[in-house]
């Protein structure tokens, strides 16, 4: 996904991308809506003892048990005490949930406004982010659903 948007920039073609904005603490992140199956609000995931730290717990989703990934944990933020929202994302390995503080609006951004990850970003974040879009008043950091897949994370963080 990120590779695709980057290459679009190179050919200078302006492609419009729809992005769902999600908030975590003070930062807004973007997730391409093509990967989002559903947004479920106000859930309290059931913690799984002994699971890798980035696993936010389990939620009941349409008759199945969905593993969630805690973005807060991935970004070393203190855990959120209240209920969180879940983006149900689809990746090559199946479905998983992404726990975020709040879900904002769906923005239409142009690929010409995309910039790759800055080189000064720490390695861990560099692996999770897929560049950023320059909005008028702020930056929208893109998340790559494929890299947030718990299976991918288990290979990246064998903890």
């Amino acid at each position: 996904m990120s590779a695709a948007t980057v290459s679009h920039k190179k050919v200078k073609a302006s492609v419009l991308v729809e992005v769902c904005s999600v908030r975590l603490a003070e930062t807004w992140f973007g997730v391409p809506i093509t990967h989002i199956l559903e947004i479920v609000g106000a859930v309290r995931p059931q913690p799984v003892p002994l699971a890798p730290a980035y696993v936010g717990g389990l939620v009941h989703y349409r008759g199945d048990v969905l593993t969630t990934v805690s973005l807060r944990q991935l970004l070393d933020l203190p855990p959120n005490e209240g209920a969180q929202a879940i983006l149900v994302l689809e990746s090559t390995g199946g479905c998983f949930g992404l726990l975020v503080d709040a879900v904002g609006e769906v923005l239409t951004v142009s690929s010409t406004d995309h910039e790759p990850n800055p080189s000064i970003l720490d390695r861990r974040r560099k692996a999770l982010f897929a560049g950023a879009y320059k909005l008028k008043d702020r930056l929208l950091v893109m998340l790559d659903p494929e890299r947030l897949d718990p299976l991918q994370l288990s290979q990246a963080h064998p903890d």
Partner: protein, 818 residues
């Protein structure tokens, strides 16, 4: 084949219509040979549905044929069997014709010719012939398989097989044609002039004259009683009438049944699970609203009904796998030189489809084992004074929420000494340990990986994987395997399979402020440890917690410490603890949890790969209150906590061995004390133990009875417990506590009997006692904990008087009481 069909358009037969219907397709298939490859592929895609249906139908036909062939061996004269076999092959041949599977058609044709002769009684169904037909069956199956996987018939060469089939038709095998019967056909069908005679197919020489006229004579011939037609009308001539009968049969079945994709069924099962949960939440939400009560109750009922029916839709009779066994038994017994009779019972017992699939391999293994290791060669059997023909019995039956599948043989049995020696030789068990094991325990060693007692590795079994695989596969689906064997008498392997895989009974336990589901299959008992007793009953050996369970040390695993190694934990003396005593794969340990909730039937949901690798959970489930709970895997917990079989044994020390040997010796008893005397009650008969106030015991005449769950139950009080309790109550009347007595409720035949006792002491295995000198087994007593103990004679408890007397008795009681 086309020629044959073409000579019967005069008959108003459904088969004819079928032929017309399929004619364009046939033409298409003829053109197909010359078609470009891409067009061919397109055609194939279009025909996919038809091909698939053909494959399913043919496989079913072949399954039936296989069964019939093995039956044919015992009943070679059975015309119905022959007809069935003929039909299976014929249907395949007929359908392949227009689907354009040439290889399949040629092979089926060769088989049909042979079967035609057989069906008409011109050949006798002897062993080589059946073997040949079984080869044909395998050949057809192989081609079907190839069509299924590669969409083509494959490159195999069938000429050898066809030659074999032709050779079996050789004159040596052909009986003299029965002229009288052929004559009967003629006389019954005088209209059978022979204009179509030249178009008759490549008929078998001796009967060609009779064959030709038979085709146009269809209708009159059908009027003759069926058996005559069957024996007289030759070979392919009955083609037309056969499929008609078959179509009629298939038609009625097709109207009432439907093929459903298993994936769809699974999805339905999931959705029903979802509905059940939603219903539970609706019920909770609407509980306070009287207007909704009726509606939600209706929803409740419909959901329960739906769930039951969807589960039922997944059920299949075990005959689906049992029917594969005759062939296996036949082939193996021939290659091993055994004579075996297969007895099958309870074929219509039903089991969830996925479970049925899962036990297919274990069952085949078990049957192979019985034939290879169990049943001896005929000469050995004769020498041992047995029937040269061994019996292999397959039996399926229901037992509660389980299906029991038994594979038993009357073979040599398993020599326990051999098992022990082998186990020691393979280093599976230490010699000193082996010498302490009981017979039953030693037998269970055959389930360990890498164990085989066969002296030589045969191609049937003996690689030392069989029993191991059986156990692993059965345990994977939540079942259990037991083996029972008596040297010289035979072996019985018992598979206990849960009814469904998707829903399992589980106990919900609480720990680290979360609910967990503990499958009840491995749960043997629960112990409550109140905080004030914790310090006394939970003992430690260098950091290893142990609990004294009826005098034996049970290793403990604290669930909270296991799940949150870093966290702070309250010690057992600060809170209530519950010990779930678990028994998995011979590992016995106690899992300490903070609380117990209700047992629930849970729907197992798989976990994602990341969580599977943790290894402690076998899945997750949604509870009735919509909470999620992880399902604990007792086996994995034992491994993780380091509870191993040997460690377990070492910890329990000599005490456990003593019990092992006792367990092997006799049945278990409940040891009770009645007014100072010890007595034993067979544990199998005990239903429950009730503590009740003395005043609940009433009397009919002088016989004590108890109103138990709305029914009157006689109470046996030979020990004088009641009188003792009464006396005690009188002497201590100043205390206002009501005296309590304990009643052991037992099953005796089909009635319930209560036994009044003062204390329940223990459960122990009893040993048989033999009279000195005569060595006769003594009745009524048993050796419990090295003391001779009387066994309560349940049958000896007098029945209650029958109804008309009761009222009088009650009056009497009223008087006595007054």
């Amino acid at each position: 084949m086309p020629g044959k069909r073409c000579n019967c358009p005069l008959t108003p037969d459904p088969c004819f219509l079928k032929f017309i219907l399929f004619h364009p397709i046939k033409a298409l298939s003829a053109r197909r040979a010359g078609a470009a490859k891409s067009r061919l592929a397109g055609w194939f895609k279009a025909m996919d549905e038809l091909t698939r249906e053909f494959l399913i139908e043919s496989q079913e036909g072949l399954d039936r044929m296989e069964q019939c062939l093995t039956d044919l061996e015992t009943r070679p004269q059975d015309a119905a069997l022959l007809g069935e076999i003929f039909r299976s092959v014929h249907t395949i041949k007929g359908t392949t014709g227009f689907l354009g599977f040439k290889r399949l058609e040629t092979l089926a044709h060769a088989g049909e010719n042979l079967l035609g002769l057989l069906r008409d009684g011109k050949l006798a169904a002897n062993r080589p012939l059946i073997t040949g037909l079984l080869h044909l069956l395998d050949g057809l199956r192989a081609i079907l398989k190839s069509i299924e996987t590669m969409a083509s018939e494959g490159e195999g060469e069938d000429s050898a097989l066809i030659e074999q089939l032709v050779a079996l038709q050789a004159p040596a095998n052909v009986k003299q044609p029965v002229h009288a019967k052929v004559g009967a056909t003629f006389s019954a069908a005088p209209a059978a002039a022979a204009p179509q005679a030249p178009s008759a197919p490549q008929a078998q020489a001796p009967v060609s004259a009779a064959q030709a006229p038979a085709a146009p004579a269809q209708q009159p011939a059908n009027a003759i009683p069926a058996p005559v037609v069957q024996s007289a009308a030759a070979g392919s001539e009955t083609d037309a009438s056969r499929p008609r009968a078959q179509i009629a049969a298939a038609g009625s079945a097709a109207e009432s049944t439907l093929r459903v994709d298993v994936v769809l069924l699974n999805r339905m099962m999931n959705l029903v699970g979802e509905l059940v949960l939603t219903r539970n939440q609706v019920l909770q939400a609407t509980a306070s609203d009287p207007n909704m009560t009726l509606l939600s109750r209706r929803l409740d009922m419909v959901t329960a009904d739906l769930r039951e029916n969807v589960m039922k839709a997944r059920m299949q009779p075990v005959s689906n796998i049992f029917s594969k066994m005759p062939r296996i038994v036949r082939d193996l017994s021939q290659s091993l030189g055994r004579r075996v009779r297969l007895v099958v019972e309870g074929q219509d017992t039903e089991l969830d489809k996925s479970l049925l699939e899962a036990i297919k391999d274990p069952l085949t293994h078990a049957v192979r084992n019985s034939l290879d290791h169990g049943i001896e060669p005929p000469e050995v059997r004769v020498a041992a004074g047995k029937d040269p023909e061994g019996t292999l019995k397959l039996r399926a039956s229901h037992e509660g929420s389980h299906v029991i599948i038994e594979v038993s043989d009357d073979g040599a049995g398993i020599a326990v000494e051999k098992v022990r020696d082998k186990a020691i030789e393979r280093g599976i068990i230490a010699p000193e340990r082996a010498s302490q094991l009981g017979e039953h325990e030693l037998l269970q060693l055959v389930f360990l990986p890498g164990f085989s007692t066969a002296a030589a590795v045969t191609n049937v079994s003996g690689r030392g994987v069989g029993m191991d695989v059986v156990r692993t596969n059965v345990e994977k689906i939540g079942g259990k395997v037991e083996i029972d064997s008596r040297t010289g008498k035979g072996t019985t392997l018992r598979l206990r399979i849960p009814l469904t895989l998707a829903i399992i009974p589980a106990l919900i336990v609480r720990s680290v402020n979360q609910s967990f589901a503990l499958p009840q299959g491995s749960l043997s008992e629960l112990v409550h440890v109140p905080p004030e007793q914790a310090a006394k009953t939970i003992e430690w050996i260098e950091g290893a917690p142990l609990y004294r369970l009826r005098g034996k040390l049970l290793p403990l695993v604290f669930l909270d410490r296991l799940l949150m190694p870093a966290g702070e934990h309250k010690s057992a003396s600060e809170r209530d603890s519950f010990i779930a005593v678990l028994d998995v794969d011979g590992r016995r340990y106690g899992l300490v949890v903070d609380g117990l909730a209700d047992p629930e039937e849970i729907v197992v949901k798989p976990l994602s790969a990341v969580l599977k690798v943790i290894g402690l959970y076998s899945g997750a489930t949604v509870l009735g209150n919509a909470d999620l709970a992880l399902i604990l895997d007792p086996g994995a917990i034992a491994v993780k906590a380091g509870v191993t079989m040997s460690a377990d044994r070492d910890a329990e020390g000599a005490d456990s061995e003593e019990e092992d040997t006792n367990a092997a010796k006799g049945m278990e008893y409940l040891l009770v004390e009645a007014a100072g005397r010890r007595a034993a009650v067979p544990l199998a008969d005990v239903l429950r133990i009730e503590q009740i106030p003395l005043s609940r015991i009433e009397f009919i005449g002088d016989r004590p009875v108890l109103n138990f769950e709305g029914q009157l139950m006689p109470v046996e009080d030979s020990g004088g417990v009641l009188a003792a309790a009464e006396a005690e109550a009188n002497s201590a009347s100043q205390t206002d506590r009501e005296p309590q007595i304990i009643v052991v409720v037992c099953r005796e035949g089909n009635r319930h009997v209560g036994i009044a006792v003062s204390h329940v002491l223990d459960v122990a295995a009893g040993g048989d006692l033999f009279e000195a000198g005569t060595s006769q087994r003594t009745g009524g007593v048993t050796l419990l904990k090295d003391r001779v103990t009387g066994v309560v004679d349940l049958a000896g408890v007098q029945p209650l008087p029958v109804c008309e007397n009761v009222s009088e008795d009650w009056n009497q009681i009223a008087e006595t009481v007054a």
